[in-house]
């Protein structure tokens, strides 16, 4: 048995090495430490050296995994990046993203895949922990000659805006940001562009004349401004009802259902005040079904629960878009337009059961995701 296990390990290791040497995967690991005591500095230096020498084969990385975890307990590890070959940082672009576990790690991996597809080079990717030191990040970026940072997620953006102002920031994978951040940076929101939502709605339900949305001005004002313009483009009236808290939101929904008609539709934005899972969602799902009102959402998870359709990020395309902005700056020095941009690189999900209930023929539509699953 031992012999067989050994053979299995050998196959595993050999395959790993082969893939690490031939595939487009990072195979150099560097680790930057702060506040590390003498013992751990020496220990880590030795291990990093062994990884450099070993080109990242998994057996060599196993010790660092153990040591890294041991050090993590001591709060020593602050920042790590994974890059590859001489192309690391050569693109002049770095990505800062939250050091977060699955399932969201997969989302960021997909966005980075899109970025690297566009840049045709490996970019330096920095998972940013909750206790990341901005000075340390800044020093590392300078060392890598990074001129544009693509910041992903709230946490990535928070780290990026504290950097040297000479470094251009393009942000994505956030819903909305404060005015100051929007003014100084290019931010591609996770909120699907209302014009795409309305276009999809009109294609599925051409008789719709009015779209109602209940929103919290503190969260969604910028989006509603876009939605008003989009509504005009698509020949629908936008009935935007403000609500500052959940109670007010529920009242608005009830009033809407009391007076709605066959040409109405209801939109659920990504608004944590007015779109809430335990009170609002059951109410709007039931009333919309009973009254035959198309209910659509900016959150794809709602489609599983019975909302007619949603648009959700095409992560790879989002990565390409962010990289396009960054490359534009690097190429001709043109700074990308500042401010919040809605998400235009989207995929579409539909609830087949709800569509059938509303009499919508899905054969004439194109969707990426059909829910619920059988």
């Amino acid at each position: 048995m031992t012999y067989k296990l050994f053979v299995a390990c050998l196959v595993w290791g050999a395959t790993a090495l082969a893939l690490a040497h031939t595939g487009p995967v990072p195979h150099r690991v560097a680790t930057t430490f702060a506040h590390v005591d003498a013992w751990s500095t020496a220990a880590v230096a030795g291990i990093v050296q062994s990884i450099e020498n070993d080109e990242g084969s998994p057996p060599a990385q196993w010790p660092i995994f153990l040591v890294e975890n041991a050090l993590s307990v001591r709060g020593a590890v602050r920042l790590a990046y994974v890059g590859g070959d001489g192309a690391l940082g050569a693109s002049g672009i770095a990505v800062l993203f939250p050091d977060i576990g699955e399932p969201y790690r997969a989302v960021f991996n997909k966005i980075i895949e899109g970025i690297e597809d566009k840049t045709k080079a490996r970019v330096a990717s920095f998972p940013v922990g909750i206790d990341a030191d901005p000075a340390e990040i800044g020093a590392e970026l300078r060392k890598q000659d990074i001129r544009v940072v693509i910041a992903l997620g709230k946490h990535g953006l928070k780290a990026a805006v504290s950097l040297d102002p000479k470094i251009e920031v393009v942000a994505g994978a956030v819903l909305a940001v404060g005015e100051a951040e929007a003014k100084n940076n290019t931010v591609v929101s996770l909120a699907p562009d209302p014009t795409l939502l309305f276009a999809r709605l009109k294609a599925m339900q051409p008789e719709t004349r009015r779209v109602t949305v209940v929103y919290d001005p503190a969260q969604s004002d910028w989006l509603i401004r876009l939605a008003r313009a989009a509504a005009k483009t698509h020949g629908v009236e936008l009935n935007a009802l403000a609500a500052g808290d959940l109670k007010a939101a529920l009242r608005q929904y009830r009033d809407f259902f009391a007076g709605c008609g066959k040409n109405d539709a209801l939109w659920l934005p990504q608004d944590s005040t007015t779109v809430e899972d335990s009170a609002v969602l059951p109410l709007v799902l039931k009333e919309s079904w009973d009254r035959g009102i198309p209910l659509f959402s900016s959150s794809v998870a709602h489609v599983r629960r019975g909302v007619l359709f949603s648009l959700y990020p095409n992560n790879v395309e989002l990565g390409r878009l962010l990289a396009h902005s960054a490359l534009g700056y690097l190429g001709n020095g043109s700074r990308p337009a500042k401010g919040m941009l809605p998400l235009r690189d989207v995929m579409a999900a539909v609830n087949t059961r709800t569509a059938s209930h509303l009499g919508i023929n899905l054969r004439q539509q194109s969707f990426d995701l059909f829910l619920p699953e059988p």
């Binding site: 595993w12 975890n69 576990g101 997969a106 969602l281 599983r304 059938s356």
Partner: protein, 707 residues
């Protein structure tokens, strides 16, 4: 009294404790970043895994179905297909004494035989059925789950779409595409009984094509539970010998290699796969007698090429699939049926009773379909196909001749009996089929799906099977279904053409048939809680059984005789208590009885209860636990033994997220409380008086790395 843990078990416990404490330290050190924006845009883990996976199609037929995703498999801590299927309502995984092969019993159907031919197992939609035994064959032992994207299990008849053997149910294994498993992952796992596995999985692009590759090398020494008495024990008693290896351990080990390569380009998709199960232990013995060696070797090569365009013109969708399967099952060192020193009334076998049934099959299947949505309110689907199923070579090595009564007469050394008295001669079957299905929107929220399939077999003739499904979307949170269908199980080549006086083949066999009526309710209690209920009734006819030949002729022959009726219910639910805690479970009840005697059909559990909790904490840590209770297994016909003991097992699993270097660790304890788990030996218990022991408490530890 439960046995004391062995030194190996204690060592495993210590290793596990060390691993768990290491994992806990890492968990404590993980940062805790909240990204509420992401939750609002993408939803929970399930939605993300679906939304970042491959685009889906819209073709499906109403059924009582369970879908198990890769995420579910990870949460239940399963390391092979059988462990996954045991969690499906109405499905119990039992074991045959022969090679300890899994038999999938669905809704009370499938017990009492050494084969598992009343369930259709598909891989990416292509049947895996081998012709000699009419079931999945011997290459599915220890099927790895690492490259499975999802498993779809349909309970109830499916012959109107899938043809033969979609009888008690259909299991479709969908493997991962490049989108479902992007990048490169490596894994290594070791566990109790010398279980070891190493695998590598890659998803990426090559020249514009999506490529998914998987390679797994592994195996196990197999559980070593004791069989107290076997068929040879009885022979020893009758003939005064001491040949039996019982009491002794079962032989349940095997070595495994699984490899697959999938390429997708536009509307085209090609798969190639290789599966090897080598050094397959004989379980409790092919003749219900423990033996040494006699290791089997099963190999499957598969390849298929498919093209589909669901938007081929305004109202059309078209597609075709061409597949080929090569199955080899051999005994490189022959098969010991009874141990050395055996004496029977027909003679003595100092070297043991030795056989060597070897078989080689090749299958080619071509199918095509068309969807048409040009008539308002109707979605039509048509399909046709041709299967060429060829058991093209057999070889029989043995040291005996079967006399007219089926008793083995010694003939000296092992020689090639392929021309003298083979276990079967090469056989070939061709099938042509066509089907049509209409999904008709009768009225708002009412849909009637009607399907009909005709299969024309070159050996036993034709069979036509309908399927009707009325679906009512009664409310926003309630769906009701009423389903009716018939299905058939084609006789296997062994049942038609096998050469053995005590179980002679019968070329005149007709297929077994079943008629099933089902009703199902799916109710979403709240957005985060879902309950479904199904009730069913079935009637099986023309069962293929071994019947004694009319006197004075000795021996027995496969015949169509008798039937079995059953009914039951399945209740299942899922509740996302919080974003990081999911509870799920089911209860299944069934009662199946012989049509003539009214006696319980035996073997299958009347009650099956399952519960699972998945708790996610930290940055992607998973702690899961599941409990599985199997109860109410009666004995088969003519078996006076007490009912098979009930059992409850509890499993726990802990998984780490990938570290920033891509490393992850998982550990599990299965059958935590070391419950005694037995699967029934065949009636009347003369050959194996005791039931088949299953694994006691076991452990595994896994290391993964994403490059």
């Amino acid at each position: 009294m439960p046995p004391k843990p062995s030194a190996r078990a204690r060592l495993a416990l210590k290793a596990l404790a060390l691993a768990l404490s290491g994992l806990a330290c890492t968990a404590a050190a993980q940062s805790n970043i909240s990204e509420d924006d992401l939750a609002l845009a993408y939803g929970d883990k399930t939605t993300i895994s679906i939304a970042t996976g491959h685009a889906q199609t819209l073709n499906r037929a109403p059924a009582v179905a369970t879908v198990i995703t890769a995420e579910d498999i990870a949460a239940m801590g399963a390391t092979d297909l059988d462990e996954v299927l045991e969690t499906v309502p109405g499905l119990h995984v039992s074991r045959s004494s022969v090679r300890y092969a899994a038999t999938y019993l669905i809704r009370g159907i499938g017990g009492g035989t050494q084969t598992n031919s009343q369930v259709l197992l598909l891989q990416n939609g292509v049947p895996t059925t081998t012709m000699f035994g009419g079931d999945k064959g011997s290459a599915w032992r220890g099927t790895a789950v690492e490259n499975i994207a999802r498993i779809e299990v349909i309970r109830g008849p499916g012959s109107a779409l899938y043809g033969a053997d979609a009888y008690a149910g259909v299991i479709n294994i969908v493997t991962k595409t490049a989108n479902a498993a992007p990048g490169t992952e490596l894994g290594l796992r070791a566990g109790s009984f010398g279980a070891r596995d190493a695998w590598v999985q890659h998803g990426g692009k090559a020249g514009g094509a999506d490529i998914a590759a998987f390679l797994r090398v592994g195996g196990t020494d197999g559980l070593r539970e004791t069989i107290a008495a076997d068929a040879q024990t009885r022979n020893d008693r009758l003939f005064g010998t001491r040949a039996s290896f019982a009491p002794g351990p079962v032989n349940a080990g095997y070595d495994a290699i699984d490899g697959s390569l999938t390429a997708s380009y536009g509307n085209w998709r090609a798969n190639g796969a290789y599966k090897l199960r080598d050094r397959l232990g004989t379980g409790a013995g092919v003749s219900s007698a423990l033996v040494a060696g006699s290791l089997g070797r099963a190999e499957v090569f598969t390849g298929d090429l498919g093209w589909s365009d669901l938007n081929f013109g305004e109202n059309w969708g078209l597609g075709f699939n061409l597949s080929h399967l090569q199955y080899n099952f051999t005994y490189p060192e022959n098969l010991m049926l009874l141990p050395p020193g055996t004496r029977l009334a027909s003679g003595s076998f100092p070297d043991g009773l030795i056989g060597g049934p070897n078989q080689w099959e090749r299958q080619t299947r071509l199918s095509a379909f068309a969807n048409y949505a040009g008539f308002a309110g109707h979605a039509l689907r048509f399909g046709l196909g041709h299967d060429d199923l060829d058991l093209y070579r057999t070889r029989t090595m043995k040291n005996y001749f079967l006399n007219a009564a089926g008793a083995p007469v010694p003939t000296g050394p092992v020689i090639d009996y392929s021309d003298i008295q083979p276990f079967i001669r090469p056989q070939r079957r061709k099938i042509d089929y066509l089907y049509a299905q209409d999904e008709w929107s009768l009225a708002r929220d009412w849909t009637l799906t009607a399907g009909l399939r005709h299969d024309s077999y070159s050996d036993f003739g034709g069979t036509t099977n309908p399927r009707l499904a009325l679906v009512w979307e009664a409310a926003h949170d309630l769906t009701a279904k009423l389903l009716y269908g018939t299905a058939f199980r084609a006789p296997s080549f062994n049942e038609q053409y096998g050469i053995n006086p005590v179980s002679n083949g019968n070329p005149g066999l007709k297929p077994e048939t079943v008629r099933t009526l089902e009703a199902a309710l799916a109710w979403r209690l709240r957005p985060e809680a879902h309950v479904s209920l199904s009730v069913f009734r079935y009637a099986m006819q023309n069962l293929i059984r071994i019947v004694a030949n009319p006197a004075p002729a000795p021996g027995a022959t496969f015949q169509n005789t008798g039937g079995q009726n059953g009914y039951g219910t399945e209740l299942e639910g899922t509740w996302d208590v919080a974003r990081n805690l999911r509870l799920s479970g089911h209860y299944a009840y069934q009662h199946s009885a012989d049509e003539t005697t009214g006696r319980d059909a035996g073997y299958t559990p009347r009650h099956h209860l399952y519960a699972r909790a998945d708790w996610r904490f930290g940055d992607g840590w998973l702690l899961g636990g599941q409990a599985n209770r199997v109860a109410g297994r009666q004995r088969g016909p003519g078996d006076a033994r007490a009912p098979v003991p009930d059992y409850t097992t509890v499993d726990v699993i802990l998984r780490s997220p990938a570290s920033r270097k891509g490393w992850s660790v998982a550990a599990s304890v299965r059958n935590l409380f070391d419950a005694t788990v037995l699967e029934p030996s065949l009636a009347p218990g003369l050959l194996l008086p005791d039931d088949l022991p299953m694994a006691p408490r076991t452990f595994w530890l896994q290391l993964g790395h994403r490059l």
